[in-house]
Subunit: 196 residues, 2 copies
DNA sequence: GCTCAACTTGGACGTTCGTCCAATTCTGAG
DNA sequence: CTCAGAATTGGACGAACGTCCAAGTTGAGC
């Protein structure tokens, strides 16, 4: 994942990050449709010119915000996968369930941003490439975790578990998550060792 | 789901549907961010005034487009669930796999629209309510199908299967679906009868 | 302390936007 | 045939938009 924080800058890097975090807040609240250079400037408490200075155009802004988001959420997800591969199946279920429940509640804002950007990457080749790479990386990590967990078919089980996670998250966007999320996660993980 | 086609109109209903279908095309291609009254008029080959005449504002337009989309896709999904509950587990797996594969390939445009609207309903209470109702209805149908299939815990299995479907679809937005989708579906359905 | 690149800022430009309205045509019920 | 209401249209309006630029400020390296 691109590191957004390093450019030639002196202190410009800090401001760039402020702008990107403000961008992610706006996307969560109003969507890409509600994102404007002026609105961003207002949200970040910066003059309009500052936005133009750091980002050549709206497209570049969105792509940079995407990279920033992946940087943050990718690490969070990698940590979850590490927990999955490190413990017993029951501990793995807790790791996944914690991740999902946290995503759907306290991190709901970031969740909305995540899927907004996901949908947008279905349209922009530049985003698609980077999202596909991100998903493949997570899947590879998950395959490893499934292997460590003794899965009979780690490749399929990894895809299955990742799909369940995405699915539970997406459903929670519109419908209340409900207490069954943990049960669903436990259910799928309890069957990993079954015959296939 | 609201029926969009009935208003007091004479022939206005046909035009309203044309406008809504054009709206859904634009959302798939350019997102809600790329949807404008003028662009819609151009896409539908109608004058700008026609859009204002049939929809009081952009919000109402989006909500009507959402209802139109649910009308179409809801029926398609219901048909799939019927197939799931009607046959053997193997036939059920085929029904789900066919549905997912078709959604990710030939119906990719509609898939993008679906998740764009899904994310948007996380922001608008009006959409959220109707999306939540839609999901609950599908889930109820799926619970029935799981029961017919002999599931030991139809409620959980229904949520699990629906989550897998959503997850596979979402992943396919950015990454190529690949031939493993069928395997994942078969894998999850082959475990429905297992102990829990 | 001079220099130059990085940074910062306010404002102007032309475009596109959502909304609104007056005028006109169409059409089915009485 | 008549007429009320639906359908249709083009254009006008102010607001908000993305982009660009010229002028100013800052601060590390020489």
């Amino acid at each position: 994942m691109d590191d957004v924080t390093e450019p030639p800058s002196r202190k410009g890097a800090a401001r760039k990050i402020e702008l990107l975090d403000a961008t992610l807040r706006i996307i969560a609240r109003d969507g890409l449709a509600g994102l404007s250079m002026r609105g961003l400037a207002a949200e970040a408490g910066a003059p309009l010119g500052a936005v133009s200075y750091y980002f050549a155009g709206k497209d570049e802004l969105v792509e940079a915000a995407f990279a920033r988001h992946s940087e943050i959420e990718g690490e969070r997800m990698a940590a979850m996968i590490r927990r999955v591969g490190a413990g017993t199946p029951d501990e793995a279920a807790d790791a996944v369930a914690d991740f999902v429940v946290e995503g759907c509640t306290v991190r709901r804002r970031q969740l909305i941003t995540e899927y907004e950007l996901m949908v947008e990457s279905a349209r922009r080749p530049a985003l698609q490439e980077s999202t596909a790479g991100w998903l493949r990386s997570l899947r590879a990590q998950m395959v490893e975790a499934m292997t460590a967990l003794g899965s009979a078919d780690p490749e399929i089980d990894a895809r299955l578990l990742l799909a369940v996670i995405s699915g539970l998250e997406v459903d929670s966007l519109a419908d209340e998550p409900g207490p069954t999320q943990r049960d669903v996660v436990r259910s799928v993980l309890s069957r990993l060792r079954g015959a296939r």
